[in-house]
């Protein structure tokens, strides 16, 4: 197999970029939990902004991912693709639920969705770790098709 000397910029960026929306969605679950305990609307406001910012960023990153996938044939792993697809669909629903007024914007539906999203994110991360082959530092850029 010839050595692939493609520049590092050809790695698929998608999984790395999606850590930002993922952090937003994890924080949403945290602020939801605080709201559910306190009933202080400030925390619900945190949640809906975190969801909105996470979804807007994710929309941009999905476009980048699609351009790389179809333009450069650099696809993120199947686990990453399916995992984030589920996360984003649930989070769109969650944003609608969080746009209700008052307590039912979080409890129970919104909080449940937020927690399920965190679980899917964790599962995606663990499954990606498990399937990634052990690789040496010097060979890391050979894994250009992975993330």
């Amino acid at each position: 197999m010839p050595l692939d000397l493609a520049p590092r910029t050809y790695r698929p960026y998608f999984a790395a970029l999606m850590t930002f929306p993922a952090a937003c969605f994890v924080m949403t679950a945290v602020t939801d939990l605080i709201y559910a305990r306190s009933a202080n609307m400030t925390w619900e406001t945190f949640s809906i902004w975190l969801l909105t910012i996470g979804l807007i960023a994710a929309a941009v990153f999905v476009v980048i991912g699609l351009v790389q996938a179809f333009g450069q044939q650099r696809w993120p792993s199947m686990i990453t693709r399916v995992g984030y697809a589920i996360v984003l669909v649930l989070s769109v629903f969650n944003a609608f639920v969080h746009s209700r007024d008052g307590y039912t914007s979080v409890v129970p539906g919104g909080l449940m969705l937020s927690i399920v999203v965190v679980l899917v994110l964790a599962l995606t991360w663990v499954m990606n770790l498990k399937r990634a082959p052990r690789r040496s530092h010097s060979a890391s850029f050979l894994m250009s098709g992975e993330s």
């Binding site: 009933a39 202080n40 609307m41 400030t42 619900e44 406001t45 809906i48 902004w49 909105t52 999905v62 991912g65 699609l66 996938a69 179809f70 696809w75 199947m78 693709r81 399916v82 984030y84 697809a85 589920i86 984003l88 669909v89 769109v92 629903f93 944003a95 609608f96 639920v97 746009s99 209700r100 007024d101 008052g102 307590y103 039912t104 914007s105 409890v107 539906g109």
Partner: protein, 437 residues
């Protein structure tokens, strides 16, 4: 990524289905009158928003008057007239007013702002002025127009006690010395009291009426949210009817739990305070009926904890069982989301006998209900100081058959002769309704 888009599509379909399933809505007729039918509350993924696009009155088109009545264009070409007030010398004050720019607290505020803007006529912004109209020839059409008072802070309520004219801005009641016949207010005015205003100011209109003995002002102060989504501290002294002492400016809460009491007035026989109140949204197309009710001293009318008496609102935490137990059932339902923004009792002779003694109510019309509800002026007959029957249409035709809004009725007043004046903030007119012959 192909799979991802398939996933998104599959998830999107039920969303579209949900958005499309509001078409079958029970008739609102059994929510008009003293006894109303209340369905179970719904929780929405996408709350319905149905705004009537604006198609202004053209070539002298007018609303349609009810049986035995005629309508005249008392004034046209105004800018967003929201409330009218008849002075004792026959002059009529009209507030060309609109609320302050709402803050962006949640992404929803941005989306709702965009959608609701489609129901407003493009054109000059309301100047927050008060215009004086005068009908010197007594034809029913004002022939003189003066800019009476300029650049107030979203003025709405107006009241006259002796030679003092009170104007309720969104954030204060201002007292002006008034001389009958004057066409421009020269007195700079002095503040009687602050009112709950910004920075959120969700329900900004401050309707106002003077007590019959001239010692008190009653001001309707709306809630700062639909249902506490801006937090309870934002609701301090809101969703209430204030009683303000004219001599000192001191106030107390005369009644509470009235979500958005936009019209307050005194019933002429019993001299009791009455109000029209706008109830909460996003519980369903037939929840919660807006209402017309007498206002009891120290009365509590439910908001935010419950509606129509003891029906709990699931969106309020923490709940308050002791307040819910106190909640008064309103006297008379007007239907859900009709948005009653004006009330005037009918007294004078310019109106036929079958429209005398009861209350006219201006229904601005729904924006979150499909099909539309409201968009008319009704007459609720009264006997012995209580509503005594089904309402009668007084002014209709604000909506076209294809769902465009020619106008939307807001504030009402009865002139000295008893003719009804109706502010129309989309049609930019004041309509005068009187006996047909």
């Amino acid at each position: 990524m192909r799979r991802a888009s398939l996933f998104l599509l599959c998830a999107g379909l039920p969303l579209l289905a949900l958005a499309g399933c509001h078409s079958k809505v029970a008739s609102p007729d059994d929510q008009v009158g003293p006894n109303v039918t209340l369905p179970d509350p719904q929780a929405y993924l996408l709350p319905p928003m149905k705004i009537a696009p604006v198609k202004p009155w053209q070539n002298g088109e007018m609303p349609i008057a009810g049986a035995g009545l005629k309508v005249q264009p008392f004034a046209t070409g105004l800018i967003h007239p929201r409330s009218v007030f008849a002075l004792p010398n026959g002059d009529v004050l009209v507030a060309e007013t609109d609320g302050p720019k709402p803050p962006l607290n949640r992404p929803k505020d941005f989306i709702m702002g965009l959608i609701q803007a489609s129901g407003k006529k493009s054109g000059p912004k309301a100047p927050n002025d008060i215009i004086l109209l005068r009908d010197t020839q007594h034809t029913g059409v004002a022939d003189q127009r003066f800019t009476f008072l300029t650049h107030r802070h979203s003025p709405f309520g107006m009241a006259l006690i002796g030679d003092n004219l009170y104007v309720a801005d969104t954030d204060a009641v201002i007292r002006y010395h008034y001389t009958p016949g004057q066409t421009v207010m020269t007195d700079p005015g002095e503040k009687l009291t602050d009112l709950p205003g910004g920075p959120i100011d969700h329900h900004w209109t401050k309707s106002m009426v003077a007590s019959p003995d001239g010692t008190k002002l009653y001001v309707g102060v709306g809630s700062n949210s639909n249902i506490t989504e801006n937090g309870m501290p934002a609701e301090f002294e809101r969703a209430a009817i204030w009683e303000i002492d004219v001599a000192t400016g001191a106030h107390r809460l005369y009644a509470t739990g009235t979500r958005n009491p936009v019209g307050v007035t005194f019933e002429p026989v019993t001299h009791k305070l009455w109000a029209v109140v706008n109830e909460r949204d996003e519980l369903g197309p037939n929840l919660v009926p807006d209402y017309l009710t007498s206002i009891a001293d120290h009365g509590f009318y439910g908001w935010p904890y419950s509606y129509w008496g003891q029906h709990l609102d699931p969106r309020v935490k923490p709940q308050s069982p002791e307040m819910v137990a106190k909640a008064i059932v309103p006297d008379y339902g007007l239907g859900s989301h009709v948005a009653p923004l004006g009330i005037a009792f009918s007294t004078g002779n310019a109106i036929p006998a079958q429209y005398r003694g009861g209350a006219f109510v201006g229904e601005h019309g729904s924006w979150d209900r499909d099909p539309f509800n409201g968009y008319k002026v009704i007459y609720v007959p009264f006997a012995n100081g209580r509503p005594s029957g089904k309402p009668v249409d007084v002014l209709t035709g604000f909506l076209t058959a294809d769902g465009h809004a020619r106008g939307r009725p807001v504030g009402l007043a009865t002139g000295l002769d008893g003719a009804l004046l109706v502010a129309d903030d989309v049609g930019n007119s004041v309509w005068r309704v009187s006996a047909a012959q």
